[in-house]
């Protein structure tokens, strides 16, 4: 049977998406350590939580992208060993997994953020209200 690079490509990117989204979910659910960016201090810190004004989004996306790259490599390895029929079914399956993980992780965040009262940053002495 002739190789199907289109289906292999679909499976590889499906593997990327599945691993990326799974990592995004797991780093949130398990409170995994992340690189945090501190915008006022212009530096990075590593941990599960960081004191003061800090941003976890960059680190979470970065960790998820690394997991996605691993998922891509694994899917490429699997795709080389599959027949076209199995590849077609596999590609649709990983797309469904991606959509399911997206919805599940979004629901987790909506639950976590609903009604949150984050402490505001202290007003600087020269602050002028706009």
């Amino acid at each position: 049977m002739a190789p199907r690079p289109d289906l292999q490509r679909a499976l590889r990117w499906g593997g990327f998406g599945t691993a990326y989204l799974a990592c995004f979910f797991l780093t949130t659910a398990l409170s995994a350590p992340l690189p945090w960016y501190l915008p006022l201090a212009h530096r990075w810190a590593w941990g599960t939580r960081v004191d003061g004004l800090a941003v976890d989004f960059y680190g979470r996306v970065l960790e998820s992208a690394v997991a996605g790259a691993l998922g891509y490599a694994l899917a490429a390895w699997v795709a080389r060993r599959q027949a076209a029929q199995a590849l077609a079914a596999g590609a649709t399956r990983v797309a469904v997994w991606c959509l399911g993980l997206l919805l599940f992780t979004a629901a987790l965040y909506i639950y976590l953020l609903h009604g949150r009262r984050a402490p505001p940053a202290p007003l600087p002495p020269d602050y002028v209200a706009r």
Binding site: D6, L7, R9, A10, W13, G14, F16, G17, Y20, L21, F24, Y37, P39, L40, H42, L53, V55, F57, Y58, R60, V61, S64, G68, A88, A91, T92, A95, V96, C98, L99, L102, T105, A106, Y109, I110, L113, H114, G115, R116, R117, A118, P119, P120, A121, L123, P124, D126, Y127
Partner: protein
């Protein structure tokens, strides 16, 4: 006042971020409709799928990158000093929007790299794959655009 990354460019970045997002909403809506047409009637608008998939991937990446550049300014000047103090619902809504964008990124990349070589006659097996991904990205971009408008109506920069 402390110096923040790209603080002076917050307004133009916000405008370009919004433009890329609205282009993404439009192109993704077209892509979903075209994919559903391919899946439902078996017609062959493959060229449209290829074009819209590339536009969706490019606009999503552009809006995402611009959002990342603006984020330090937003996190302190908008959220830290204002939203967390006076409109916590908007602060939480923005975080949901940010997460949705992060979750939609791999799907938009898959749409871009797989959809740009799509041919409905030679690759009919890819139609459900692209339709599922397009519906996922569409949900994300519409929710993110509406949330972004609501948050910006409270405080933008």
């Amino acid at each position: 006042m402390p110096g923040l990354f790209l603080e002076g460019a917050a307004k133009p970045l916000l405008v370009f971020h919004a433009l890329a997002a609205f282009a993404g909403v439009g192109s993704c809506t077209h892509l979903v409709l075209v994919c559903l047409r391919v899946a439902g009637r078996g017609t062959d608008p493959s060229r449209l799928v290829r074009v819209y998939a590339q536009v969706v991937g490019a606009t999503f990446a552009a809006a995402f990158a611009l959002g990342l550049c603006m984020y330090p300014h937003y996190r302190y000047q908008v959220r830290g000093l204002y939203l967390d103090r006076y409109a916590p619902w908007a602060s939480n809504l923005f975080d949901v929007k940010e997460i949705l964008a992060g979750l939609g990124l791999p799907l938009s990349m898959a749409l871009f790299f797989v959809g740009r070589r799509f041919d409905a006659r030679e690759q009919p097996e890819l139609t459900p794959y692209l339709t599922i991904l397009a519906c996922g990205v569409w949900s994300v971009v519409v929710a993110a655009a509406v949330s972004g408008l609501l948050v910006t109506s409270v405080r933008g920069v």
